[in-house]
């Protein structure tokens, strides 16, 4: 039995491989073509990514989602609108398929309105934990079938973005309670929301204090230190860890600043720049969308530049304003204003696959071990715990109380038995 897999603590994302001595090549064989084969297969199959956003209402969650994926994946409520705050926490999921350069991404976003808005927010994290575990359970059920599907649909939450309100002091008790529980089950990326209410000095001080709080309470947010595979990873991830939590400003109105077109918030004392508007505009609702990547080749850019005039952002400021599309050289995003590009790069451009790997190899495996221990499917091993047997049955949606079993709660049940 692989001791790493049985341990309840998070283990390294890849099992150690035996060392093989390198072999000298005598000519060109063509092995590197396997990468192209992988690429072609991946593009045919498409990718899946599931992201969840958690935070109090009004912190800009929906705006961030829309800006992240450059499409209206979520309907934003304009501020001041009489939207009744839900009495209990709700979980709303929406799935879109977006496509870029032939690569299809099936994106599922889950929103959690009502989080932290009540007077008594005790245990408001339970529905969220329940939902996450429910997705793990679904995958587990598919996995233990005798005749499995070729490609198991993956609805597990790969990343949870947690919005911290910009108080400027430190993490609130609600934040700490939530993060402590969730970082053991899912990859959590905290961000400082509505960061345009903090000056640069306040922002830095706030960030340091949050990092200190996270260390004090042993909260491991993504990218977790223990999963760094090699020195390169560690260097890259250390740089990211130094900047977490990112200070983001959500903006979806276009403005012209110094000849550049930016998405920003216009106030009487200046324009807060959120993100540079690329040559592709925000498209309409649902369905397939075509987005241009800013690092794309020159030809693709010009092609989309022609189209940009048609697809017009509904919320554009002063429609008469001619906002010229920006070229590659101009797409410098202003980091002093908003660290949104760092977040975008982390979630999409560099670490998307890593997020999925860690979810699959670590969090899902932990869940699986707990569940299989409960249902006595695994033979007695060194980590076997005697629990009250739960019928494994085809329960696709078990209740949160049954499912939210972490190893530390196992001992409680143990006592109940005797």
């Amino acid at each position: 039995m692989d001791p790493l897999r049985q341990s309840p603590s998070p283990c390294s994302s890849r099992p150690s491989s035996p060392k093989t001595p390198p072999c000298e090549m005598l000519g060109y064989v063509g092995i590197e073509a396997v990468l192209d084969q992988l690429k072609i297969k991946a593009m045919k199959m498409g990718f899946e990514f599931n992201i969840m956003v958690v935070g109090q209402s009004g912190l800009g969650k929906s705006t961030m989602l829309n800006t992240l994926f450059k499409s209206k994946v979520w309907k934003c409520t304009p501020p001041g609108l009489a939207m009744p705050t839900p009495q209990t926490l709700q979980l709303n999921s929406v799935t879109h398929v977006i496509e870029e350069k032939g690569v299809k991404l099936k994106l599922t976003v889950t929103d959690t309105p009502g989080f932290g808005d009540q007077i008594n927010n005790d245990k408001c994290w339970n529905p969220i934990l329940g939902y996450i575990n429910e997705q793990y359970e679904r995958y587990l059920q598919e996995e233990i079938l005798i005749t499995r599907q070729r490609h198991i649909p993956d609805t597990r939450v790969h990343c949870c973005v947690y919005f911290v309100p910009p108080t400027g002091h430190c993490l609130r008790p609600l934040d700490i309670e939530f993060l402590q529980r969730l970082c053991r089950t899912v990859n959590v990326v905290p961000v400082i929301a509505r960061a345009d209410s903090l000056t640069l000095e306040e922002r830095e001080a706030f960030r340091r204090r949050i990092q200190h709080n996270l260390r004090t309470h042993c909260i491991e947010v993504y990218p977790q230190k223990c999963f760094d595979e090699d020195i390169n990873d560690r260097i890259l991830n250390s740089k990211i860890r130094d900047r977490i939590p990112f200070a983001v400003v959500g903006a979806d109105q276009q403005h012209l600043v110094n000849g550049r077109c930016v998405l920003g918030r216009k106030t009487k004392w200046g324009i807060v720049e959120g993100q540079c508007r690329d040559s592709a505009e925000n498209a309409g609702e649902g369905g397939l969308k075509i987005q241009a990547h800013p690092a794309a080749s020159g030809t693709l850019n010009t092609h989309h530049r022609a189209q940009s005039g048609q697809a017009h952002n509904q919320e554009a400021d002063r429609p008469g304003n001619q906002v010229p599309p920006c070229s590659e050289e101009d797409s410098v995003e202003n980091m002093a204003h908003c660290e949104f590009p760092l977040l975008r790069d982390l979630l999409i451009r560099s670490h998307l696959q890593d997020l999925k790997d860690i979810t699959h190899n670590v969090h899902y495996e932990n869940y699986r071990v707990c569940r299989l221990n409960e249902s006595h499917v695994l033979p007695h091993g060194p980590c076997w715990v005697n629990l009250a047997p739960t019928p494994p049955g085809p329960s696709v949606a078990p209740g949160p109380s049954k499912v939210c079993r972490q190893t530390r709660e196992d001992s409680d049940d143990n006592e109940d038995d005797y």
Partner: protein, 376 residues
């Protein structure tokens, strides 16, 4: 116009009580003002910064912000800070009541009860003093005004805000304030203000109503007054740092990478309006409303419940006052303490009477001496 004794025969039509406001002014300056202001709201909304900006003092110099782990077990406390501010020869004794820990914990049920109890205790103390024997030096520690800070990030009032405001609106003057207003764009600010006003009306919460200006004021003043009333709740930004903005004169503000927010610029925020209304124009009115309406309401309900603990549906307050107050037992302190207090106050009375007699005797003497010298 100073005091004029012995008006001559020529000033028959002129009586002279037009000098009364000046006498009042002089007496008030001598007495000094005292004002108790309460600030309430979640932590991190810039309450301390705003208070420092309002009164241009550093009231929170020795403040120690609790660490995150300390906050996990923190309960609501009530802190009082006093400061004496003098400006133009007028002294104001400002007492600030702070409520750290409000709205911070995971479970905030009933976290407003300590605040309500505090306000009622001040009323009770005043009631006792007022019904006591020596009413010369009553210390007025009643809360005259409560600035309630609303977060700009929410969509209006949160359930906790509504619960707190409902609990205190009959006991203290509430001025709602939108904190950290520099996080909002102008359209958002307007929408949020409208939403809050609608919610206050829906929930029937009585905030402090600024009195209408007199009809004989000029149009300009009336317009200004109307504008100020329209901008309630005030969207404020606080800062104690002085920023030099591109060579122009230094202003108090917050410097961001994309611009500088000026605290005292009426286009940027409503700080000036708040300061004007709170300090310059309506300080006395706040105290009067606290005394005449809120305190009287508390007193009436308190005495009613003492008089007939069973009967709730008593007649109006005027009927109550006509039935002599001796029928209704006053809130009594424990007996030994009362005796001591009576004795002390008797002593004081006697001493003061003696002093008065001495002064009168002296005056008599000097007068008679003066007459004698005149006669001679």
């Amino acid at each position: 116009m100073g005091l004029q004794w012995g008006l001559g025969k020529k000033d028959k039509e002129y009586v002279g009580f037009a000098a009364l406001p000046n006498q009042l002014h002089r007496k008030s300056v001598k007495k000094g003002f005292d004002f108790t202001l309460m600030v309430a709201g979640e932590s991190g909304l810039g309450k301390s910064t705003l208070i420092n900006s309002l009164f241009l003092t550093n009231l929170y110099e020795d403040r120690h912000l609790p660490e995150a782990s300390a906050r996990l077990t923190q309960t609501l406390t009530i802190e009082r800070r006093g400061v004496e501010i003098e400006e133009g020869g007028i002294k104001v004794k400002l007492t600030l009541v702070d409520t750290p820990g409000f709205g911070d914990s995971v479970d905030c049920s009933d976290c407003w009860l300590p605040v309500v109890r505090f306000i009622e205790e001040q009323f009770e103390q005043y009631l006792r003093d007022e019904s006591g024997l020596n009413r010369k030096n009553i210390q007025d520690s009643r809360v005259h005004c409560c600035l309630y800070f609303i977060s700009p990030f929410g969509r209006g009032l949160r359930p906790l805000d509504v619960a707190f405001l409902r609990a205190v609106h009959e006991k203290v003057n509430i001025i709602p304030v939108i904190a950290k207003a520099d996080a909002l764009m102008p359209k958002e600010t307007q929408a949020l203000k409208q939403r809050i006003r609608d919610q206050l009306k829906e929930e029937e919460i009585n905030i402090y109503q600024f009195p209408d200006c007199d009809s004989d004021e000029d149009e300009d003043f009336k317009r200004q007054d109307a504008e100020m009333k329209e901008s309630i709740p005030f969207a404020v930004v606080g800062s104690c740092e002085v920023v030099r903005d591109g060579g122009t004169r230094p202003v108090r503000g917050r410097r961001y990478s994309w611009g500088t927010v000026e605290v005292e610029n009426p286009h940027h925020c409503d700080f000036l309006n708040l300061r004007r209304m709170l300090v310059q124009t309506h300080l006395q009115d706040l105290k009067e409303v606290t005394h005449d309406i809120l305190y009287e309401g508390y007193r009436a309900s308190c005495l009613q419940s003492l008089a007939r603990p069973g009967a709730r549906d008593r007649a109006s307050r005027s009927k109550l006052s006509r039935q002599s107050a001796t029928e209704i037992p006053l809130p009594m302190l424990p007996l030994a303490e009362t005796e001591k207090l009576i004795r002390e106050k008797d002593e004081e009375l006697r001493r003061m009477q003696e002093m008065l007699e001495k002064m009168q005797a002296q005056m008599q003497q000097s007068q008679t001496q003066g007459e004698q010298s005149d006669a001679l």
